[in-house]
Symmetry: D2
Subunit: 383 residues, 4 copies
């Protein structure tokens, strides 16, 4: 039975890969080894252990690796630590193939540990383009990976142009779309977010329309993190519509983002905002579907929301190069631009659904590939 | 004054970059920060500290990072450790640009530390093709690097095809050729290797002709390391010509290579072989120039020896994809093939010199680029 | 000039050693090398960097070493990391003597790094007795240390009985008492805590009397941390007097303590409590002096408050074996016992000042010893 | 079934604890978890894995933790690394009690990991006195340990005087004596050391009498390591008797010791010396029993050889404070003193056996205690 080891290092990565994990769990020919690491284990960034257990998945190992400090030096050291710890984990679990997801800085630790230990490595969601350090990380992982399970055709083309063997590149779509596809079958709100998730701030009437904000610090613009989040807060205050605000991922700069939010709350009227740490992925997508739009720099706005047809205001460079559907308006870190874009969306009709990032079968396809691909760990540039 | 930090992690890397270091030292507009790390600090792999001091270079910091054990797990952990340690070093030295050399497994630690700390990264000798894990490491570093100082036109083409901005890719030639070019101006032997370097084994008359062997373990063929080295030993025994044999680099597998050598010496007649740990680069090239040929899987056989016109027998996959001149005969790990190729070379006239890997000015060109390039640390795939 | 390197790993340690640092800074025969490490660098545990700069001290190096997770495994790993990082720091700073303070788990990293690098080690505040893991850490550091600068005569006796050379043991008193002694010269409140430190919760009239609470999780009772803090919260609610509550140190269990506080605040009326993260040491002592008493398990209650004559309710085993003056009432983790003890204090007259932990000259004496002691790093059990 | 985890970090530690391990393996009420770490895994320091398998013991985990460099900084970092790695191991194995042996620098990593993770810790061979850094390490471990299984009555007295509860201190004797006791029942040579262990150097006739040398570098005298070993080599050369010489442990300074040996061999006549890396413990003791004496600074000379009645010349401070029988002559690092002491022994009759370090039942007693002691992990100074 093939041992497939998936390393999840952050809450959003879990959400993204979830349907593939469930499909792997359900296969008879696969032993799923789920490793939970880094901020995915930490309460203040939305510990996913509980969610994983609710999903009926077993955790093969946990890896604490976040060196606290949230600056560039600790990002590098966290990655070094992760590499040391994950090589122990792989040595114990002896997987036949390791799976790493996307492009967060610490995921390169997974990639190097597998590559150096001669374990075939599959990379989910390579070939995309964004701004920031993620850009370097993502493509470096492509060069370390033996198999590339990408979200879009354009991503596949890029991976192949980078010199990867076309026979190792597969367009599966993004598994996060799978959940969106399930939601779409009965999309009405079926839970009360205030009751289910607590959070802090005003409770308001969902029926009257609301926005969702998710804004992460951008590593290469770190010193600006606090200013950036404040601009968005001011825009949201200006628009005045009830808003759900989600705390950022752990990252160099997240402390400054968090400080910016706290400082704003103490000095300003933030009565129209309710703050959450995190939410079950399905609930989150349902919340998005029923919202008037999403604001910030989360990739959810571009991926899932293109499928769901949710208006999105994308701020700044973080998602710069990512392919996008018609649901997205791009703005800079400027309160006036942000509020203008929100108002423009509110005045328009809702965008159409778009299959750019997948047709809802990504999880099943990824599981099938991981279970059946002939494995290898040697490769060579194709040119 | 621009601070240029060069990280050297192994004896052969120092030899390769040496003329660039000397050129950097001599510039008025550069503060050279030389960091010596990993096996470059260890006596049993040819500690280069003494050589560096003889070259009149100052060492800015030393980084012990080799976790002993010489297996795949310790390779990964050594890299993790190096990442943790080098981020401290960069935080202390605050370089304007970091330089990493070639493709040994631990060099990715230099690349990640610089990239994650928003320090512009220059990579020397990307874009080449070889077998083994180096292949993954080299191209992953290309994706982390901001500037690419490559040895050949073909390497430059490959780096650009991988999506790097052509404005950041420069063909400088390989600085190791610079030393070869200097040697060529007066190539006669001017030292006695037995007196100067000791070593163990028979002392023989250089005038009667001799071979040089340098054979490293190949990570992805690790379990075979002992068998591989034994085949070469038997071939050398069979040919019977006096031979200088150099011990391998520290690497997963080097312990097995070393064991193979020791076992052979105990059981066989190795009277025609003299063993050295390492040699000053200039002496080594002079020794090569005056030899009848080089045998093994060192890149020296392909780079410097093409310029010097030294016959080479290249064994196995390690240097598989590297561009080569007419001086190279490729064979597999087989004593009969190896000895046949040696004999073929001995019967032919000496190959002509070839400028494939540089014209002897690489060090000066690299120093000029590092001193004057407009620096940046953000990039994006070009397609 | 003698290089004296003091490693501070937590906010309370800085407060405790502060007058010695100022005295060292003012000496002509000493170069003070102040290293700030671990939670002392982290905002959520009261980053002391700002306070240090306000005190006019320079920071020689910063060491991020807290592996996030706040459980027993991450405590051990944090210490291992600290040992790796601090040996780099000592190798760079080359101190003549290293100073480590008290008994927090991560301080043993300082002690081992110094001992293993043959650097004389001075330990501040050994020889005391408490419950919990601190007990093991403190005495293990005594066995690694070459000089013992202890707070009380009894502590000196214990250190000597453990086999230390009496010529290396000095009773200096505790430098935290120095600040208390300064405060005592003009003890009236001279700042408004709400204005100066913000915090969250009700603002009340200090003139009407208030309590101070500081309760840390106890490592060996970790699973109980949340329950323990809740008992105290209920007692404070019951007594009803206005109260300043300080958040706990980072430690295995602190997350649970923090959760307990947050949960209580959501479900209960905590109108009489105002929460602070931390406070400048002098302000804190002044606040204490003017309070009706301190509740919790902080050593401040036993050391400084004995000198200041502040009534203290000491909860649980954390400070179990520490010598105490007449100002302390000991209770268990029980809301009824806690509130009864608070009421008993409120009904009594204020306790007298007690010089048990020092006469106010500890900082000057410690600086004198560190500057002038003949140094050595070898020792042997005296029996 | 109680899980007893024993961590072995060096070849001599394995030899010392071996009979206890065999006794633990044979008990029905114990699951033995044997962890092999540090130099015990490395070929060049006498990898013990093969010996362990021959003894029929299973290895629960292996921990590579030696940072190569063999200087004081790498000793500290190796210990830090070990602490990080061993906490992972204990978290996976979940032992009921951890056992650490003696006083090598890296063993404190075992002690801290166990103590910080609230796992009861038993220390074998505390309470002894020696020179060097071992002295600090040994007693620091005593203060971290919950149970003390010591070799002699005097050691027990010292541990109790250091403030340990007498109810936790047990005189078991040293298990290395158990093997000596078994050997004594039929002590004639029953193997040919040259055939069984190879080694390098002359093969000589055992019947004519021979010496054994084992000399380790002393950490606090590190720079002297090469000089020290050379004095012994010269003394052995002077005496001229056939000699078996064993390579030193990995340690700061061992590289210098090894260099001293190599340099001597190249420049001097060492025909009367045969060099071994290591030997099966039983064979080693038999070899010792049948020798004319042991020379160097190994504790074997003092422990096992007192029981066996083998004359010993103990050089320098390493074993300074250790209790000794009448078989030991102490000398300094001086060729004349060393050779004089050897000659004095050769002229005397063989010393009598001495039970100072045990009666041959230590392994069984240790196993019984580890299997049945009521476990706890909290303690307090007794005074």
């Amino acid at each position: 039975m093939r041992k497939v080891c998936v390393v999840v290092t952050a809450r959003p990565s879990y959400s993204r890969i979830r349907t593939a994990l469930l499909a792997l769990r359900d296969r008879q020919d696969v032993e799923l080894q789920l490793v939970v690491a880094a901020s995915a284990l930490l309460d203040r960034f939305g510990n996913v252990v509980k969610v994983i257990k609710e999903d009926g998945l077993e955790i093969a190992d946990k890896v604490y690796m976040v060196l606290e400090g949230e600056n560039l030096v600790t990002s590098a050291k966290t990655t070094g630590l992760g590499l040391m710890e994950l090589s122990t984990v792989f040595d114990n679990l002896k997987p036949d193939v390791v799976v790493t997801i996307a492009d967060r800085y610490e995921t390169i630790a997974t990639a190097i540990a597998a590559a150096y230990m001669n374990i075939p490595l599959a990379h989910i969601q390579g070939g995309e383009i964004t701004g920031s350090i993620d850009e370097k990380v993502r493509h470096a992982i492509t060069k370390l990976a033996d198999f590339h399970l990408v979200a879009t055709k354009k991503a596949a083309e890029r991976v192949i142009r980078m010199g990867e063997d076309p026979g190792t590149v597969f367009v599966t779509g993004c598994p996060s779309i799978d959940i969106a596809a399930q939601i779409m079958q009965a999309p009405a709100m079926n839970f009360n977010p205030f009751e289910k998730y607590g959070g802090v701030g005003t409770q308001f009437d969902l029926e009257k329309g609301y926005l969702v904000v998710m804004q992460h610090p951008v590593t290469t613009e770190m010193k600006e993190a606090r200013h950036h989040v404040t601009e968005t807060l001011l825009a949201i205050q200006d628009v005045g519509m009830p808003t759900f605000w989600f705390w950022p991922n752990v990252d160099a700069g997240s402390e400054d983002t968090s400080k910016g939010i706290r400082a704003f709350r103490e000095l300003n009227d933030s009565r129209n905002i309710h703050f959450f740490k995190n939410m079950h992925p399905e609930d989150f997508l349902r919340l998005l579907y029923n919202s008037k739009g999403i604001v910030g720099n989360s990739s959810v706005a571009i991926r899932e929301c293109s499928y769901l047809g949710v208006p999105a205001v994308n701020i700044g460079s973080r998602e710069g190069g990512r392919e996008r559907g018609k649901n997205v308006l791009d703005v800079s870190y400027d309160r006036a631009e942000i509020s203008a874009a929100i108002r423009q969306h509110l005045n328009n009709t809702r965008p159409e659904n778009d299959m750019l990032y997948g047709n809802g079968q990504a999880g099943i396809q990824i599981a099938e590939l991981l279970a059946t691909l002939p494995l290898k760990f040697q490769k060579r540039l194709t040119y």
